[in-house]
Amino acid sequence: MAVTVNLAAYLRQYAANKENVLVMGKTVRECLDNLIKQYPKLKDQIFDKNNSLYPYVSVFIAGEIMYADKLEKPVKDGVNMNILYIIGGG
């Protein structure tokens, strides 16, 4: 499946300033793994040392949040995946 990953500004610095990245994968996890394969610097921003999604990183597909326990969920071809790193400045 081909999935477009949208990166908010904070994470782009770890992905050669790309706003959108086309990735391949059958599940959310596979898509994220493929994203990291293309931009390895993202790994430390998204996953902890146990390869679990950080709680302050949110992955959304069609409005639904994909927490760590939903990463094996299948993805549909052509969907958009949004990855948000929490920000809190004011």
Partner: protein, 243 residues
């Protein structure tokens, strides 16, 4: 009732389609509490006061520091070292004498947050830290008070409106806190987001337009564009999942 002076002062917004004198009266009798008088809180407060909100409370425990002045436009050179609530209160009360301004120089925590916010129609999240944002979100959900979130980092800003029990809340978007760090910010970023927050508060009160609910608005100053992410209510949300 609006006085002749108020009708003249707010004429340009009263003539907005759907706003009218009815909307202005709603504003006049409404109250908003802004948590923070910094980068987000300054523009939010200025525009709510200019629009003729009835009562505005600002909560802030900080003193004005030099590094605040690139974005916290209610505070000026002469205010360095001064309590932010005093500094903000002085300017806001001079802007519009019709508005009742209340200043609370307190640190928001679990034990005082209800006392500080429960009598207000809208809560605006203009904090500079995530811990307090989650306390405010939890309290707003519990009280049933509409809550307008805003946050910034560099040239990126985000905003979302939360109607407790009806729309996605902050806990439906984020679950945990990252390591603490000094955040970068260009002053225009909270300027834009703070004004969006004020707009949302006015829309909540007057009932005009469509609210920024179930979607996170992301402002990207680097590319100068806005995008939206659909956010559905999360049944497993620790704050609103059981409502």
């Amino acid at each position: 009732m609006l006085t002749p002076e108020e009708k003249q002062r707010y004429d340009r917004q009263i003539i907005i389609n759907g706003f009218g004198e009815v909307g202005q009266k709603k504003l006049k009798h409404a109250s908003v509490v802004i948590a923070g008088s910094g980068g987000l809180g300054s523009p939010a407060a200025i525009y709510l006061v200019a629009a003729g909100i009835g009562k505005l409370r600002i909560i802030d425990h900080d003193k004005v520091e030099l590094s605040n002045l690139n974005r916290q436009i209610l505070h000026w050179d002469k205010d360095l070292g001064r309590e932010k609530v005093e500094s903000a209160g002085e300017k806001l009360s001079r802007m519009n004498g019709n508005v009742k301004i209340e200043m609370a120089g307190e640190t928001i925590n679990e034990s005082n947050v209800v006392k500080l916010t429960d009598s207000f129609d809208v809560i605006i999240d203009a904090m500079d830290n995530l811990e307090t944002r989650f306390i405010l979100n939890k309290t707003a959900i519990k009280q049933g008070t509409p809550f307008v979130h805003g946050a910034v980092y560099g040239l990126e800003g985000r905003a979302m409106t939360i109607i407790p029990g009806k729309t996605a809340c902050l806990g439906c978007v984020y679950r945990g806190l990252p390591p603490r760090e000094k955040f970068p910010v260009l002053g225009t970023t909270p300027g834009i987001i703070g004004m969006i927050q004020a707009t949302e508060a006015i829309k909540i009160i007057t009932g005009i337009g469509e609210l920024l609910t179930n979607r996170l608005l992301i402002y990207d100053g680097f590319k100068m564009k806005f995008m939206e992410i659909e956010i559905k209510r999360d049944p497993g949300c620790i704050f609103c999942g059981t409502l």
